[in-house]
């Protein structure tokens, strides 16, 4: 069970890391338009 003393603090660090990633995504504008990109990926090719 000693490994818990490593894993639990590690999970806290990971949680903070996940928070930092979300902060970056949020301020990079990734949550500004939640509808458009879903459509855009379907219509990227020209229909010529």
């Amino acid at each position: 069970m000693d490994v818990l003393y490593l894993l639990i603090p590690l999970s806290i660090v990971l949680a903070f890391a996940a928070g930092a990633v979300f902060w970056w995504a949020l301020h990079g504008g990734q949550f500004e338009d939640l509808e458009g990109p879903a459509h855009r990926i379907l219509t990227d090719e020209d229909h010529l």
């Binding site: 069970m1 818990l4 003393y5 639990i8 603090p9 999970s11 806290i12 949680a15 996940a18 928070g19 979300f22 902060w23 949020l26 301020h27 949550f31 500004e32 338009d33 939640l34 509808e35 458009g36 879903a38 459509h39 855009r40 379907l42 219509t43 090719e45 020209d46 229909h47 010529l48």
Partner: protein, 833 residues
Amino acid sequence: MSTAGASSCFHCGEPVPGGTRFSVMIDGALRPMCCAGCAAVASTIAEHGLTGYYLNRSELPQRDLADSPLTEALAAYDIPAVQKPFVRISAGGIRQAALLIEGITCGACAWLIERRLRRLDGVLGVAVNLAARRAQVEWDDERIRLSAILRAIADLGYRTQGFDPVTGESAALRERRVMLWRLFVAGLAMMQVMMYALPAYLADGDLTVEVEQLMRWASLTLTIPVILWSAAPFFTSAWRDLYARRAGMDMPVALGIAIAFAASVWATVSGRGEVYFDSIAMFVFLLLGARYLETMARARAAESQQRLVRHTPAVAERLVPGAAPVATERVAAVQLVAGDLVRIAPGSIVPADGVVTAGESAADESLLTGEARAVAKRAGDAVIGGSVNLQSPLTVRVTQVGPESVLAGIVRLMDRAQADKPYVAQIADRIAQWFVAVLIVAACATAGAWWWIDPQRALWVMVAVLVVSCPCALSLATPAALAAATGALHRLGILITRGHALETLARATHVVFDKTGTLTQGRLTLIGVIPLGARGRESCLALAAALECGSEHPIARALLSAAPRAPSVTATQTRNYPGQGIEATVDGGRVRIGSPAFASELARRPVPPELVYVPDAVTAVTLADAGGYIALLTFGDMLRAGAHRLVLDLQARGKAVCLLSGDRRATVAHAAHALGVETALGEAGPEQKLAFVRDLQAQGAVVAMVGDGVNDAPVLAQAQVSIAMGGGTDLAHASADMVLLADDLGRLSAAFDVAHDTMRIIRQNLAWAAAYNVVAIPLAAAGWITPLAAGAGMAMSSLAVVANALRLGKIGVRVTFPIFSTGSPGYTVEKLL
């Protein structure tokens, strides 16, 4: 309404009126079009190889956006003074602007606009935000002008509604980011803390003390950001309430969080007692989640109104004072002062209030007065800023600008009526305050009682009472239901702009309609052609269209949209007699179209006796040549599809339906009769409408008002709940509690359904929360509920409330949507969603 591609417009899906022959070659086949506007847009799309739009779209385009603005009007946006407020200029002539675009209905629209603009030489970047319906455009001013970009957007059938000012990021965007960040922090902490709590739940005391302490410290570490950051709004709000000496709904929330956290921290540090970190994180997450959804839905509604408020044009054409040959200069409309002379081209919007000094024309003041017919304007007549000049150029001396103008006056009237508005929500708030106060007193009393019985357990019992009493379920009951209902309505194309709208709509006893544009289409349509001579119906129509083809008059527009695109006859020497009609030469003979008296001058005989059969509610136009009368053409404002069904439906619900209108009495009575509406009031100005609604309210009625014109704005604000039609006037939206975006009256019935369901769900939720509290609080106060059970009970009751509210999102609505198929995208089916 399963309509095959052959009889419905390929572009907009409307049925193709009989006798029209518009078609466009798309993907190797001739596709039918309902009108010249759709045909023009469709051919632009086909020309640029963007027909993929038709395969990918999931919504049909909005109607009535086809009247595309004049190129000259757009050219005004190239003037530096006009661009200044919204264009950001970077080094090297690179410019940026955020354009608000009306008419974006689905992902394919965004695709279409991006594709089209990217192919313009000089456009450096385009990004369309589908959710905000905003296009961020970057261009090189030396290679392309802004007007050319706006032209390209207009040619695709969209309308640029305005521009976002460049002054920094909007406050709304920042607020949204902060809320989302708070929510995420709480969510992440909730998941992680639950993982730490799980071993204690499962092990049931088998855990070693060291491991349990480790879990507790880990939970504490992750809950700190939740308390300090995510739950901060509850603490600030509770502190504000405390400061103002009132009991707000956030108070038990803040108190519960604070005490549970403090007790848990103490338990962690001392190693005795229970911890509630998982409950705290979940509690905060659920509350924030509900509030986030609600705020977003409302912000979205508010934003779509803001963009509609811009009403007067940005640019005016001012006569240069003292210039010997008359010269004009383009100035920003805000720079106009009283006394300036401005020239107003046909088809453009009057920039300020004024008096006509030269020219003869007609103005469309329907936005301001509700009068659907054009009003003749001659020298000496007053024109109102915001109305549309229809026929020929006018020179106007500006009399009032800015806050003194009629438009501004209407806005002020609206504000005042809004300030008087009754708020049912305030009563609900007062009741909630009492509940909260009682709850806090009860918790303290419990703690006091336990202090005598068993001092060691006092704090824990108090926390158990606060936690189990679940202010969560109570605080969630209404917002969760409102958020779900707002979402359901938004999918139906109905925006809620005020929290009380649904509640009041459910209680409404009277539904008052403004005729123009709500129950009718708000524009003239050709009803019939009565040939009076040897010519057939088609031939009469072609002749009339040839005469009217240069005119901007509503009748001309109605005629031209009903007539074939390429006229078989051509008119020369066309001359316009404002207020009377048009005379032209066709095949060597003079032909007149216009009022019966005007036509009879040329025909040299008394007005045609057939006019007796034309009802008063219909506008008749006479076509004649020197040899006699040719035809009578009748025009009227047609009832909207679904208007009759809506009235029947409302009456079946026991609501009284009334009709108020600025139109002539005969017209209003006719419409009321056709719809089966008992109470109708014609020729009503803003004051009469206001008085009518006040009278109803004095008799105890709860009035729901459906309107669209600016003249409705004060009365919209006076009604307990107001609904604006999205196709209608901009300013009306600003004061409306709800906005109907789709041009489909049937959705209004759905709004009433949702309102009733929402109220039922809210009552169920409150009943559940009350019943739960009645059972749980005494149990907790008696000390019978373990802290673990208290937390679980709190979570369960919150989830029950949220799950119940989410049922609102599943309200089935019959919606028509196109099937995506290569062969015939025009096919539509009905599906129960």
